[in-house]
Amino acid sequence: MLRVNILLLAGVMASAMYLVRLQYESRHLYTEIEKAQSEARRLDNQRERLLADKRGQATPLRVEQIAKDQLQMRPATAGITVYVTQGAAP
């Protein structure tokens, strides 16, 4: 009887210790998730900002200025456009 009791006691102790450890590990993992999530948010924000920057670099104003000043281009008009109709002779 005594032996069974001691065995049970050891079992309870072991399970209690294991519980504590699991709790610790779960909290640890939780902080890891949190960290990963906030990193994801940060990257998301950064992506949004880069998209905005990219768009800022490609605004018609800037494109036109560069086309005009650096590349010596000029606006196309109907006079200098060749229209090709599908299925018909050019």
Partner: protein, 576 residues
Amino acid sequence: MSRSVLYTSSPLLASKTPVWRSRLVLVFIAAGFLALVGRAAWVQVIKNDFFQRQGEVRFARTLELPANRGRILDRNGLLLATSVPASSIWAIPEDVERDKGKLAQMAKLLEMPRAELEKKLQDDDKTFVWIKRQVEESVAREVLALGIKGVYQRTEFKRQYPEGEAAAHVVGFTNVEDRGQEGMELAFEKELAGRPGSRRVIKDRLGRIVEDVREQVPPVPGRDLQLSIDSKVQFFAYQKLRDAVQQHKAKAGSVVVLDVQSGEVLALANYPSYSPAKRVNLSGAQLRNRALTDTFEPGSTMKPFTVALALDRGLVRPETPIQTAPGRITIAGSTISDAHPYGVLSVAEVIQKSSNVGTVQMAMKLQPKEMWELFSSVGFGQRPQLPFPGIVSGRLRAYKTWRPIEQATMSYGYGVSVSLFQLARAYTVFARDGELVPVTLLKSQAQAAGVRILDPNNAQSVRQMLFMAAGPGGTAPKAQTIGYSVGGKTGTARKQEGKGYAEGKYRGFFVGLAPVDKPRIVVAVMIDEPGTGVYYGGEVAAPVFSTTVQQTLRMMGLQPDMNVKPQIVVGVEESF
């Protein structure tokens, strides 16, 4: 036989202490345990709520999960407005270390005067004060690197407007709290804003989140808003308008481009404008969305409606001759005159030459009620159905109050007031063979169903007249553009000030459509108070119309409907 010793009752081991002492110890220990049990019961059962609460107060935190504000996109999915994170610097005044050198450095980094910074930090009672909001992240990092005690940063969201001033009036802007203040940002605040969520968590000693207490309320991000605006068309229209306003030393100007088939607004620009991201020292003149909020007398641009009505009633045909000599007509004691006397003109020529007398003669055969019905059915005096703050309805008085002279002047656009946008929309009647199209600022896939107002044949006839008006011998040959046929009407109106007309102050405008046979767009341009002496709509507004039509139709990929002399020369440097 050896003597046996009974160890259990060894006289050597016999305790001399009285039994009560061990009992007493036992009682103490038992009492100790009882106390523990009692305390445990107190904490866990009787006062459980209280202790739970105290524990939570110390470790549980409610976090707000901010919802991202929706983006505003143009019809091709290009960004017009988006939220990016920005750092805001805040401080607890009583904690801030008063290191003069460091504070001076911080003021310099934040580009604010020392005095202003000092003032913000003066109030020791406050536990929270913004030093500067929405600064660049790199600046915020440098500020924090100074290591001033009591100064912190917090991430907020800041709106960016890549398109800048070209689309400022349509897109609008938000305030520092990320709430819409103007334009679409204000009109669609509810959709764009989203709903912040929340979660309750337990943080450990180091401030790390270790557990969720309750289920999270996830944030609902704001919806993206796709406008009908084409940012390229918008930019070109704005640029041409700006150039024209500056060239003619005008006070302001507006331009509206409508897609005839879908009723979508492709561009809506005003000058002067502002940069939505840097809103300092903004004046009301810059903020005003003139195309929607300013009304004026439409002048000659009204004539096509009068003529269309006369055609619809069967009173005239396009070739019916009308005697306009001697260039004057007297109605109820008031004389209406033409700029030049023309003699006999056909109805089409009345529009082409923009004859007031000819228009009035047709108008006097019409009933005021009929005119009123047509004018209001094309939207004059009605608030345009746009989700926009501050839209005006213009003014069209009830026909019962019209005197004959008013009926006459209204036929050529005086005595009513409209906004440029209303005018542009009304011209869709001619562009769509007599149907008025509902307009929208949001992208729509389907072709819009119009409301029939004029007979298709008559609308086409008026369109031919508009084509003549923009052609040789018309009032606005400058509206022509390479490759595409255009039709339109000029208008020049004296500005009203107080009760009468202001001396020497005019508005020149032009409303037209292109291509004439199968119109795709309606473009309206208005130039306010040109200051160089040239003020006719055909001179100041028509060139803006011309370049805007050229660029817009080209970008829509529309093949020219007019013969174009090819200017492409292979192998030779072409010259213009």
